[in-house]
Symmetry: C2
Subunit: 334 residues, 2 copies
DNA sequence: CTGTTAGCGCCTTCAA
DNA sequence: TTGAAGGCGCTAACAG
């Protein structure tokens, strides 16, 4: 009962021409009689004919699509990067497909395999781990790809990332000036970008040996929850504290909860975030944070990938973006 | 110089078997000798062989992917719906591809065509317009699809949407109780969902004839900007005002600006939003808003689509979700 | 358990 | 300007 899909042959026979001729109007070839073209177009219209992209691609047409794998949809950082990428590539006629690995390496590998399998023209990946198997797989494919939010271990891999080590350092220098009695670090999944932030932070931080550290806090919900714990265990209500939180989403969650409890930010507790997502301007206490240059990351990744596709991936552009301290209200140098 | 991709034939000849045998290990067929399988697997591994999905699909394999087209990436409502959908379908082994129409109908049509062209198993579309050409195209295809955030004109189209008219009514009833001297409505693109909210709101609102209305405000940046204008033109600083803003993102932007200017929310200006995105709990003044039941929308859309794919799209489930008033701080009944 | 034979729908020479 | 033929990489009967 399933109605058969109309194919190029159907169109051809109805028009009384060969498949080749129909194919020519599909690819908008110039060498075709105007009337033939008109007629074929009309028939296509009549049947709402949509050529089978799989077949086209199999037969050699470029797909004109790039795939991007991000770690999570709920993280504004990735969404903003993706949005920027979409803007750029669509100008060149490409379409972007977003996939989410949900921070699962197995899942990421599956998605990468899928993208390779569907022969997209290029891939942008924010890998769960810097030595993820996905990267090896990608390398063995001949599809141009670009890593974001990570600095790969191997050579000959294109990437764009912010200098997270430097970002951590910036935060530390700010902390040193604030010089609060209590200093706490809150980080997310053990990801290279995070590790580098931690290192950069610790290395430049005064009294680093006293630093308290909470890990695996990654969403604003989790931030909201950990805040209560912090208050009790580390007496945030009594000891002037500085928080460095390596993710704006989390920072916003924490601040929200602190305010509810009646702890003032930045007076009692000052908070420095990381990323500078758009939202950090719009949250309850605008965030003092380290900017990753989100728009730059997206734009550069897209442009370079497009370029690599043009050069059939023989180059490996590398970009390390300089982070920047953005002073707003959640932490100030009184 | 471009290294040729390894195909099933390469694997087959290297293993000294036929393509069919290799294909069998690909599909994990039981009727295959264990040693053959092992051997073939090893060779695949050696070459990092990834089967061509285009070819597989052309030859009849289901793609196991669904496509979703949303209006914009920067809108948390859509992202949250998409995230929910991804959760659900991935449990069934499907992969989701997200595409963004950027509120452009032409672009939407192109993307729909692309999805049909690539023969995905199902499509979820948040159409720019309720009588978009995309919908007609989708109908003429034999791919199961589900509309979200809209109530289609024609019958026999599956959809899930919140009852926006009712949502507007809820807001109006709340406004009537607040009974502020000045009442202002702020809406986004002229989309059916918005129109319904407006209608529902106006119909139940006391003193609706005095209602002021600003249109085409759709992002929090735009909200942030319009706030200054509002203050000046409508003397928000002097006249107690109630704002109904049909989009939480915008509402958050507006509140942020109002606070900066020194206008208190909800005392001087009370704000009712729409959507209940997660963020509305975390913004500077937690939002009183109309909940669309975002998670429900995503879950239902995904589940029903999966079901339609199973039944080869012969059913047309329709869901109208009851919106709900969520009382937080940005507007209260004193 | 395995090989052979046909396509799937389209594009691309090569001739006409 | 058009048509015929071959092939892209894989799956699906149908024989053995």
């Amino acid at each position: 009962m399933k109605k058969k899909r109309v194919t190029i042959s159907d169109i051809a026979s109805e028009a009384g021409v060969s498949k080749a001729t129909v194919s020519r109007v599909l690819s908008d070839s110039p060498k075709i009689k105007f009337e033939s073209k008109e007629k074929i177009l009309k028939i296509m219209e009549k049947y709402s004919y949509v050529p089978n992209h799989m077949a086209q691609s199999l037969a050699g047409s470029p797909r004109m699509t790039i795939g991007i794998i991000i770690d999570e949809l709920a993280n504004f950082f990735f969404i903003e990067v993706a949005d920027e990428i979409d803007q750029v590539i669509s100008h060149s006629g490409y379409t972007m497909q977003i996939l989410s690995s949900r921070w699962e390496e197995e899942n990421e590998l599956k998605l990468v395999r899928q993208l390779i399998s569907s022969r997209v023209d290029g891939i942008i990946l924010a890998p769960v781990s810097e030595d993820s198997r996905s990267i090896a797989l990608l390398k063995s494919s001949d599809i141009p790809f670009m890593l974001i939010n990570v600095i790969p271990m191997q050579k000959k891999i294109a990437y764009v990332s912010s200098d997270n080590h430097q970002g951590g350092k910036l935060a530390a220098e700010f902390f040193n000036k604030m010089n609060r009695p209590s200093q706490i670090l809150i980080t997310g999944f053990p990801h290279q970008s995070i590790t580098n932030r931690i290192q950069g932070f610790r290395e430049s931080l005064n009294r680093a040996e006293e630093l308290l550290h909470y890990e695996n806090i990654s969403t604003y919900e989790q931030g909201y929850e950990i805040a209560s714990v912090l208050v009790i265990k580390n007496r945030l209500d009594q000891i002037k504290t500085a928080l460095f939180i390596t993710n704006d989403n989390v920072a916003i969650g924490i601040i929200t909860r602190l305010l509810e409890i009646g702890i003032s930010v930045p007076d009692q507790v000052s908070v420095v975030g990381f990323d500078d997502i758009k939202l950090s301007k719009f949250c309850r206490i605008p965030l003092t944070t380290i900017s990753q240059g989100i728009k730059d990351i997206g734009k550069i990744a897209a442009l370079e990938l497009l370029d690599m596709i043009g050069n059939s991936g023989s180059t490996f552009p590398k970009h390390l973006i300089e982070p920047q301290m953005i002073l707003r209200q959640s932490a100030v140098l009184s």
